[in-house]
């Protein structure tokens, strides 16, 4: 239904609004940069979570820091998926948009993310602008939007806000929040609390004005919007916290007892250091911003060698630069935790967009044989806990642990159960018993490859650590026997770690037609797609890997119980139907390559690099195609 010409629907006060009861709804709030749509979206999401809805928020970020006003590429705001139960991913299409001008609305239309029947609430002041160019843009936009069956509702935001404030540019976001609160039945007391929290550093007057604008929007919607949307609440008993994946990594670093994070600015990893820079000193830690990516790795390794395990964070290009130092840490068995928040690549690639294409570089990027641990959190909650795991493994196994997050987790915001802290997470497993004369810095246990770590300051422990091939005493040794032995000792540790892991749980039945294998941030979308297609009767299950090196045990046995196995990832692979592509030259996704080599199972690959998270609907579609074709390509 197109309602572009009429002003807002004006139901008489006596007509009760129609109530649309839905299991989930996805809402976007978009404005020019600086108009506060993000704050509106954040409060809407936080209050929805507090009331008992599941929530997954992603930021809509303009490509430039200060884009000009009223241009599609300047769209700034939030996309909030709200559901009855837990929401594990950003979902599919947007159902309702609040836009502060028609140009930012166009940008959302053009990326194809809006549902065919989406409801669009649009600030109407531009339609009657004194500037004929603006009116012409408005008309052209309405024409373009008419290609879909959107329901367009004009909202007099400016006009309404002017009744309360002189400069509505700073107030429309609260008016919009009020409109959304009425439509979605959000608890106004909780919203007022949240506004108080958001403006806690501002004056009482600021709070009062914002609340007045909120209430103005609420009452306007009460009188002028003829529908309500009801997403049933399922409040959880457990206390929740809400944050994005990078904040979770930062908090996890604190919980794990790290005391230094050495970094160099790079998107999308840097916000971990923003969080830590704000709080770390209160915990006795520091963020050291190095002169470059290489130095950040070096400072972390130096600190770790000196007795504490340090953290360095980066994204793809930085991982490349740190490579030589990573080899040194592995060779010298110096514990180190590196977080790679992946973005699109290669090269500068897509700095703000999600991709999972650093997997093979993380696993095999270091020249020489350089065995180390690679783990990937699958949820925002796991971003917190993975840091504790990573530090513990790095110290126990005297090795490098790489943590592969990505831009989807980094910027996604979703609540999760408040972690129960354990002070043991912080204990340093450094054996400070006196070093006896003759004790060696690489006194490898011949079965496990594990050895005691000696740190500077310990009398009788003095040795020179070296990246050259070395014997148990860290003496430079080029003999073939020593190199064979030390290589085996470093490699053995991975097998020992694997022996401590359990096979991954299967989501769905233990056997069936198709098994989807994923890793990292795609877990929510993959499992939602599996659930949808299982509900359609398809015999599909999924497995999600956290450990990429060593791989979790038992994979081959799990794969054998399914007729087809497909790895689903956000990295590039050749489509088998593309020109020149055949079975011998087809480049598969990175996890598929890894699993094929590890298991000799004919694992297929379905990957996309759209610069955005995978949608459950696209994964479900590939599941259907594969099940229906019976595995025939």
């Amino acid at each position: 239904m197109i309602d572009a010409t009429a002003t807002a629907a004006s139901p008489s006060a006596s007509t009760p609004p129609s109530v649309l009861r839905v299991p989930e709804h996805t809402v976007e709030i978009v404005s020019d940069s600086g108009e506060g749509a993000q704050k509106c979206g954040q409060i809407f999401a936080a209050v929805s979570a507090k009331m008992g809805n599941g929530v997954w928020t992603v930021e809509i970020i303009p490509a430039e820091v200060q884009p000009p006003p009223r241009v599609p590429e300047g769209a700034s705001g939030n996309r909030v998926r709200v559901g009855s139960g837990p929401v594990t991913n950003w979902g599919d299409q947007t159902n309702l948009v609040v836009a502060f001008n028609e140009q930012v609305l166009l940008s959302r239309h053009r990326v194809g993310g809006l549902a065919e029947d989406a409801i669009l609430l649009i600030e109407e002041m531009w339609a009657t602008s004194d500037d004929p160019a603006v009116v012409a843009q408005w008309d052209a936009a309405m024409e373009e939007l008419s290609s879909k069956s959107y329901r367009i509702i004009r909202v007099p935001m400016q006009e309404q806000c002017l009744t309360l404030v002189d400069n509505p540019r700073k107030g429309k976001n609260m008016f919009a929040l009020g409109v959304l609160a009425r439509i979605y039945g959000r608890d106004m007391d909780r919203i007022r609390d949240q506004i108080g929290h958001a403006f806690r550093k501002k004056s009482e007057a600021v709070y009062t004005t914002n609340v007045s604008l909120l209430e103005l929007g609420y009452h306007w919607a009460e009188q002028h919007i003829d529908f309500r949307i009801d997403i049933p609440l399922e409040p959880m008993d457990t206390p929740l916290v809400v944050m994005n994946g990078n904040e979770a990594i930062g908090m996890g670093a604190v919980a794990a007892g790290f005391e230094i994070c050495a970094m160099y600015p790079i998107t999308p990893a840097t916000s971990v250091s923003h969080y830590l820079s704000e709080v770390f000193e209160r915990f006795g830690g520091i963020v050291h911003q190095s002169e470059d990516e290489i130095a950040a790795a070096g400072v972390a390794i130096g600190a770790s060698y000196a007795g504490k395990v340090a953290l360095t964070i980066t994204s793809g290009p930085g991982l490349a630069l740190k490579t030589e130092f990573l080899g040194l840490a592995i060779m010298t068995e110096t514990p180190l935790v590196l977080v790679d928040v992946q973005r699109g690549g290669p090269s500068t690639g897509l700095p703000t967009k999600v991709e999972q294409s650093d997997l093979l570089a993380a696993l095999y990027g270091q020249p020489g044989d350089a065995p180390h641990v690679v783990i990937a959190p699958a949820t925002i909650e796991e971003c917190f806990h993975v840091m504790v795991t990573a530090r513990r493994i790095a110290e126990t196994f005297r090795t490098v642990v790489m943590v592969l997050s990505d831009a989807n987790l980094a910027t996604g915001v979703s609540p999760f159960p408040r972690p129960t802290l354990d002070a043991r997470w912080q204990a340093a497993p450094i054996d400070l018993a006196p070093v006896a004369e003759g004790d060696k810095p690489y006194d490898w246990d011949l079965e496990t490859g594990l050895s005691r770590r000696i740190v500077p300051g310990q009398p009788a422990g003095m040795f020179t650590l070296t990246g050259l091939s070395h014997d148990e005493g860290s003496k430079v040794a080029y003999s073939s026997g020593i190199h064979q032995k030390s290589s085996a000792m470093r490699s053995r540790k991975l097998a020992v770690l694997q022996s401590l892991l359990a096979p991954p749980p299967v989501h769905g039945d233990e056997e069936g037609e198709l098994l989807v294998v994923g890793w990292g941030s795609t877990k929510g979308a993959i499992e939602e797609a599996v659930d949808r297609t299982r509900a359609e009767g398809l015999k599909v299950s999924s497995v999600h890997l956290r450990f990429l090196s060593p791989l979790e045990p038992g994979l081959k046995a799990i794969f054998a119980r399914f007729r087809q196995v497909v790895a689903v990832e956000i990295n590039y692979s050749d489509d088998p139907d593309d020109p020149f592509i055949n079975e011998e030259n087809r480049r598969r996704g990175q996890l598929a390559m890894l699993l094929r080599s590890a298991t000799l199972v004919d694992i297929d690959s379905w990957t996309r690099v759209p610069g955005e998270p995978l949608r459950p609907a696209s994964i479900a579609e590939t599941i259907r195609q594969r099940v229906h074709s019976g595995g025939a390509a």
Binding site: A49, V241, V254, F283, A295, S304, K308, A427, V455, L465
Partner: protein, 318 residues
Amino acid sequence: MSLSCHLLHVLQPEEADNQYEMTSYEGAQARWCPGCGDHSVLTAVQKLLTAEQLIPEQTVFVSGIGCSSRFPHYLKTYGFHGIHGRALPVSTGVKLHRPELNVFTVMGDGDCTSIGAAHWIHALRYNLDLTVLLLDNGIYGLTKKQTSPTTPQGLKTNTQPKGSFLPALNPLAVSLGVTNASFVAQTAEWAPAHLYATLRAAYRHKGTSFVRILQRCPVFTPEVFQAAVQDPARIVLLVHDDGVVTPELNRIYSSQIHHDPGDIATARRLAEADDHIHLGVFFRDQSRPRYEETRKVTPRSPNERMSRLEEEFDRYAV
């Protein structure tokens, strides 16, 4: 309950009841070529360690890659023989975490002024309490005679066989141009008394003390400093109570300038002068901020951290 909060305490030096001799600091047999300047630097360093009675296990020598970077292996202290050009970031990490350790950094000219140039500049600016030795023989030795940034222009090498193309980089001038640099000196391995006195002044300086040590490579560049070795008149000593004073050298090096290391303008002029080789402390300023002091934080026990983390969760509570 946790070791982590007590780590530094546990590793504090005990009362030194033993007297350290030169031999206390001897590591593996040095394997540099006969006549290599590295030998005399090693001897001077061992003499310094003995004179200062540095506790071996409280002392760390960090190096990069190159002939000179074998240095830590030949000492009986803790050592970190890392990767090419990157000794300074490692030293930074060690010192940031363990400020009580004596941290020395040993680099060659390729290490410091070429592949590691970014770290060199920034380490001078951080001004952690590090003693940094640049063993400058003007050539890549370990990889066999390639041009380094400090190779004299025209000197024939395996990578520039018609003669090195560019004028040599001046490490003193570069160092003196870095904001917050606090100690810049030059000495020569063939003047052991001066070398020792300079190393001692460098060690005693609080902050990053950068010492360029001129030295000969008998295999690849025996001629580079030959004239200065044979003719002491080519050398001018910078003397000052706040720098180094070596009266025992007065007879050999009669050409001396009374240079106040607080005078940065004169220091820069002397560093740029190419008529003579100046040895001594060019610049010294004890008042410059030191990074490890600036970044000092109060250590927190695991329990303190956990209760503060609960407050953080409150901030993010739904």
